[in-house]
């Protein structure tokens, strides 16, 4: 197969530069929260360890696998569009979108269990961070799903080409960010003690 002509400068970040401003800002916000979590934990290790054990590690782990796999699908979607295959791209991204939905459902079950146990952000510092971080991340998954849906619809209409796929890369970059933030969040909040 002939190599696709890439009009994007390889030096540049994949996708629209505007999304990268967001990605860097999001990384900063999450980074501060991660570090704040770690230092607050150092103040009261016992409380954090005890509360941490009440979390469902299995659902956290499944969600990690779900997001990693969805990211993998997005990579395949971008590879497809670089060869001009709109339909295949839409299929891969739909797969990623569905996995996003799975993440959301699992997360809501988890939230429901915590709220049913009367746990709120005021319960203690650990739950404050747990609920804040996961909810904040949850909103990003929803946002990412909206972006994916818009790209899927455009791809189904054949809206991208080997010349013009910046839109796909833009959405993909955001989705990968959602993925790697969870990759850090999961061990930090669910596992390490």
């Amino acid at each position: 197969m002939p190599p696709a002509i890439n009009i994007n400068n390889q030096d540049d970040l994949p996708g629209d530069f505007a999304i990268w401003i967001f990605i860097f800002a999001e990384m900063l916000a999450f980074g501060v929260l991660f570090v704040a979590y770690a230092f607050s934990r150092a103040q009261d290790v016992e409380l954090f360890n005890a509360s941490q054990l009440t979390l469902s590690r299995i659902s956290g782990a499944i969600n990690t696998l779900v997001l990693i796999t969805s990211s993998y699908f997005v990579v395949q979607g971008v590879a497809a569009i670089k060869r001009g295959l709109n339909k295949q791209c839409a299929h891969w991204l739909t797969g990623a979108f569905i996995l996003g939905g799975v993440f959301v459902v699992i997360k809501m079950v988890e939230f429901h269990a915590k709220f049913a146990a009367d746990i709120t952000m005021s319960t203690n510092n650990f739950y404050m961070f747990y609920l804040s971080l996961t909810f904040f991340h949850f909103m990003h998954v929803l946002m990412g799903m909206v972006i994916l849906a818009m790209i899927i619809m455009k791809a189904k209409r054949g809206g991208y080409s080997t010349q013009d796929y910046v839109g796909v890369e833009t959405g993909a970059s955001f989705w990968h960010m959602v993925d790697f933030l969870w990759i850090i969040l999961f061990p930090l909040v669910y596992i390490i003690r």
Partner: protein
């Protein structure tokens, strides 16, 4: 001027500048009262001077926003204003209501004013910035809705651009969030919530949309840079503004009885609030560097760049100084807040209105730009006002730091009034900078009357 109806903006701009002058005069009066407590007592007590100073600020900025949008929207929409007549009626209602309210503050004891204007019917008075009597508050809502209606109808019948959409959104938010001022719960914590939902969501939320739209408009006009580029930046900036600004409301919840998690949410998100301001600065300088034409109105370019820099310093940097909960624990409600308030209001909102006036006024008076000499005078006024305001902020910051130390951190803390004596030197210096500011403002007003060879339209 491309559209006849844009002319209504002129009225609004003149009123804005007049009220601006009034605001500064009252600022100087109370600045002096900080150090000479009985100055003008009992004619104008400190609390009344303060009320007039802050209320005039809000009203002149609103006049500026309204005038700017009546100028900007016809041009963006490429159509005449929906109803210039309504805009003129609204202007007079607002001006008269504003004048009567200020006279009420000055001539009638506040308690009597409250009694006469039906405050026991619906209790809304007595809160900082929202001191207006009930009829005035209702008037503000009517004026804001009439303004919004006029603008939205114009946008709907003409071209829709990112700038006009963002501006309309900002105005919608301005009108909606003001409604919180009609609810004044007895519970002090709730009261503060509703109060901040007006004050904070205005200045750290929807007003920034208005600011962004106005700045983007002027930059497109004076640089000739592609609209697509400017619009993308505008969208990125306002999204960041809204996300950080709305959740950042939490930085007002620190010590007022709200749940403790707000200390985290408020600190982290409000710490990000400078980012959209920084982006605005980068954006403005980028546009000017990539300019495709040399606009004859040099002064307008200076105001626009000044807005982006001073907004970042005043709102962004000075806000960040005391936004983190552990720091705010000491600095809450000290002169540091006053420093931030002055530099942010001036840098973001006063300057953006002056930018719009500087760009639009010559055109409204039938020329592309003012005569050279008038522009030079205008630029002088820019530097005088900007530098003196920066010094006001610096002196108040100094006062705030000493205040925090003597009153709150020192092993032998002093009482509030004793501390005020200790920092009077800063207040004197601030008053001096205030006088320079007044000279700058007078020079600015004078620049409108300079005659000379003016540049016609190309």
């Amino acid at each position: 001027m491309k559209y006849k109806s844009q002319a209504v903006a002129k009225l609004y701009f003149i009123a804005a500048i007049g009220l601006f002058l009034g605001q500064i005069l009252f600022g100087l009066i109370m600045g002096l009262q900080y150090v000479v407590g009985d100055f003008l007592f009992p004619v104008i007590p400190f609390n009344v001077a303060r009320m007039v100073h802050t209320n005039l600020l809000i009203v002149w900025l609103l006049f500026g926003f309204m005038g700017a949008s009546y100028y900007l929207i016809p041009e963006e929409s490429e159509t005449e204003l929906y109803s210039p007549k309504l805009a003129i009626i609204t202007f007079w209602i607002f001006l008269v209501a504003g004048a009567v309210t200020v006279l009420g503050y000055l001539l009638v004891p506040y308690a009597s004013l409250a009694k006469w204007t039906g405050n026991d019917l619906l209790n809304t008075m007595g809160r900082e910035f929202l001191e207006q009597p009930l009829p005035t508050k209702v008037g503000i809502v009517i004026v804001a809705l009439s303004w919004l209606f006029n603008i939205v109808m114009t946008v709907l019948k003409g071209r829709k651009t990112a700038i006009s959409i963002v501006l309309s959104l900002g105005m919608l938010g301005l009108a909606v969030f003001f409604l919180f001022s009609f609810y004044n719960p007895v519970n002090l914590v709730k009261d503060k919530f509703y109060w901040w939902w007006v004050v904070h969501l205005w200045v750290e939320g929807v007003w920034e949309l208005i600011l962004g739209a106005m700045l983007a408009f002027v930059l497109i006009k004076v640089t000739g840079v592609d609209r697509e580029v400017v619009e993308k930046w505008l969208y990125v900036i306002i999204t960041m503004t809204l996300v950080t600004g709305i959740i950042g409301t939490g930085h007002h919840y620190f010590w007022i009885g709200a749940p403790a998690y707000w200390q985290w949410w408020g600190s982290v998100f409000s710490a990000l609030e400078p980012i959209p301001f920084l982006m605005m600065t980068i954006f403005a300088f980028n546009m000017v560097n990539k300019r495709r034409r040399e606009h004859p109105n040099k002064a307008a370019v200076l105001w626009a760049l000044g807005t982006s820099v001073m907004a970042f310093l005043g709102a962004g940097l000075w806000g960040f100084l005391h936004t983190l909960a552990p720091i705010n624990y000491y600095t809450h409600g000290t002169q540091l807040t006053a420093a931030h308030g002055h530099l942010a209001f001036f840098g973001a909102y006063a300057l953006v209105v002056l930018t719009m006036i500087s760009y639009a006024m010559p055109i409204l008076r039938g020329r592309a730009a003012n005569p050279e000499r008038a522009q030079i005078m205008e630029m002088w006024s820019f530097w005088l006002m900007t530098i003196s305001m920066f010094f006001i902020a610096l002196f108040l910051t100094g006062a705030g730091i000493v205040q925090v130390w003597l009153q709150r951190m020192s092993p032998t803390p002093m009482s509030f009034m004793a501390v005020q004596d200790q920092i009077s030197i800063f207040y004197w210096a601030r008053e001096g900078a205030g006088l320079v500011f007044l000279i700058g403002l007078l020079l600015y007003i004078g620049s409108f009357f300079v005659k000379g060879e003016s540049r016609a339209f190309e």
